[in-house]
Amino acid sequence: MSTQLATPTGSAPAVPSGLGGGGRSGWGAGSIRPVLIILVLLLIAVGIRQPDFYDPPVLLAFLKRAAPLIILAAGQYFVIVAGDFDLSVGSLVTAEVVIAARLIDGDPAATWPVIVLLLGFGLLIGLVNGLVTTLLQVPSFITTLGMYLVLVGAVYTWTGGSPRGALSEEFRQFGRRGIDGVPVLGQLPYAVLVLAGVAVLAVLAMRSDFGKVLLAVGDNPRAARVTGARTARVRTIAFLASGLAAAVAAILLGGFGGVSFQVGQGLEFTAITAVVLGGVVLGGGRGSVAGAMLGALTLQTLLTLLNLLGVSGALSSAVQGLIILAAVAVGTLRRRT
């Protein structure tokens, strides 16, 4: 049973979403047009405030900062479009970074084995989330909430209350460095390359049979099951994707900043917000992965703009809340007319 946090829209989805992309054009649910317009407006505003924003190096630096959230949003998209939630990603990011610091402990030789381990750990958490949700039929909201508590508790218990160890420079390069000496661009950050790879894979996945079945499961689980779709399997794979995305995002975030318990705090809500901002409907069945990633980019642009305007960090969460409510409200009001 998927958690239907009922949006009390009187009108049930009357128009079936196109199987391929969940309605890519128009204003309807799942459309990416509203988020594109907001993004363009925000980008214009940022450009006015900071004229050199469109210089390739500055733009790439911005994309680099946005990469972890966009990757998390892509992972969360797979889960949400199938009608589920993944509330464990924030704590998973924290766990990954803390584990990396403790295991690497400044030793460059440990970098690659630990990265493999981190990716494996992300997949493992996704697998547990998926199996508990599909086999034991626990609503994913509860499964991943439980996983969140377990991961936070486990990380604190394991480290005794404060993170230990240090990341190696080799580990940090994924978030910090890039390929130098690229013509025009200057430096091409690794994070942007990783982001591009994830984006291509995500779009390809949604165009494959897997993506079509995933949308069908989110749209109408019973119908999907009756037509022979392996609903449990695709939902589990969606959780695997979300866990893997969290691991990749954690590797990038580890390079950005220090090792702390706050690295992933609240990221699950930010990622879900980004996905919804991108026109994806909670409850499943509608919206495109491109929209979800654009939603994350929009959110990051908004935060950049607030920063440029000198809005203090404290107030920015209020503005963020306002924009989210406004954006989603506009989306739903347009849908009704």
Binding site: T7, G153, V281, T332
Partner: protein, 334 residues
């Protein structure tokens, strides 16, 4: 009708699954009590029972409000920030003076009702998904709190601290407040038209609306009551802390914890099934786990892991029972 079918029909109330939390609570008390006794302490000593009940009170009041939001097929992620905000409203209005206690209580109720109204209107009239609407409102309050307050503010007169510290016999006053809130909401659900409409709305919104239930009104009222409960919890915490605290709600994790307590009590997250009594059991179960680990002086972080596992396991058992019951019904029909 076969005997089997008859029995199935008589057992239908079990579908609520709210009963399951009480055996779990008994088991937790027995195992926990034994472990604590082996450790040389006592779970049932007066002081440990009092702190257990006190711990239950704050979360319990919020969870009762969350119960009806979830029963109505909605949910409220803004409660944690409402708690922080109302603790500040209470302490700053009182400002240490006895005469301002009543105005402060009224101000808290007004502020929390207004937030509930905003949540309800966003969900019903603007038709924003409850998850996003209450998350957005929560962010708004969070921004206001972070902008305006660096630390505790205001102060509560001694007369108001009685709420947080006094006892009636062995039972803390705060627990009685929790019991009163739970009883009021239980009665409302059971015996008023609004209560029945709420269950119908949570069960199937479209069917309820087509049957003449004014579902928008029901949802708005529900969110107002849910926020009021959070406001009452804010009052309790202000009296307990002696001041308003801008981060008390978020740090206590009241948003997700209250949802966990509700679900632990057997209320179905999708809405329409469950009740307040189960939530009371869920809150007590969480408090007992808390109390046992405190007595054993186990790492508080380990406690959180156990909590996570208990919540998921409980819901898995409910899901399993629900499936078995429906299988039996199918078999009986066939």
């Amino acid at each position: 009708m076969s005997e089997n079918a008859l029995r199935t029909r008589l057992r239908l109330p079990q579908l609520d699954a709210t009963n399951g939390v009480w055996p779990a609570l008994a088991v937790a008390l027995i195992i926990g009590g034994t472990l604590v006794a082996l450790d040389g302490g006592s779970l049932f000593s007066e002081s440990s029972m009092i702190s257990l009940l006190q711990r239950a009170a704050g979360l319990g009041i919020v969870a009762v409000g969350q119960t009806i939001a979830i029963l109505a097929g909605s949910l409220d992620l803004s409660v944690a920030y409402v708690i922080s905000l109302t603790s500040l409203v209470a302490a700053e209005t009182m400002a240490g003076s006895d005469g301002m206690v009543l105005p402060a209580i009224l101000a808290v109720l007004a502020v929390s009702a207004a937030i509930g109204l905003l949540n309800g209107l966003l969900i019903t009239k603007v038709r924003i998904n409850a998850f996003i609407a209450t998350l957005g409102v929560g962010l708004l309050i969070k921004g206001y709190l972070e902008q305006g307050y660096a630390g505790p503010a205001g102060s509560v007169p001694t007369s108001f601290q009685h709420l947080g510290y006094d006892r009636v016999g062995p039972i803390p006053l705060s627990f009685l407040l929790f019991a009163a809130v739970a009883a009021a909401v239980w009665f409302t659900l059971r015996s008023t038209r609004y209560g029945h409409h709420l269950i119908a709305t949570g069960g199937d919104l479209d069917v309820a609306r087509l049957s003449g239930v004014r579902t928008d009104l029901v949802l708005i009222r529900t969110h107002v009551i849910c926020s009021l409960c959070a406001g009452i919890a804010g009052l309790y915490l202000a009296s307990r802390l002696g001041a308003g605290a801008p981060r008390v709600g978020a740090e206590g994790g009241y948003d997700l914890e209250s949802i966990a307590a509700v679900v632990l009590g057997g209320t179905v997250l999708a809405g329409g099934r469950g009740g307040v009594t189960g939530t009371v059991g869920g809150v007590l179960l969480l408090a007992v786990i808390d109390g046992v680990f405190n007595q054993l002086e186990v790492d508080s972080f380990f406690k959180q892991m156990v909590r996570g596992v208990v919540i998921v396991a409980a819901v898995a058992v409910y899901a399993l029972r629900l499936r078995r019951t429906s299988d039996r019904r199918k078999a009986a029909v066939a």
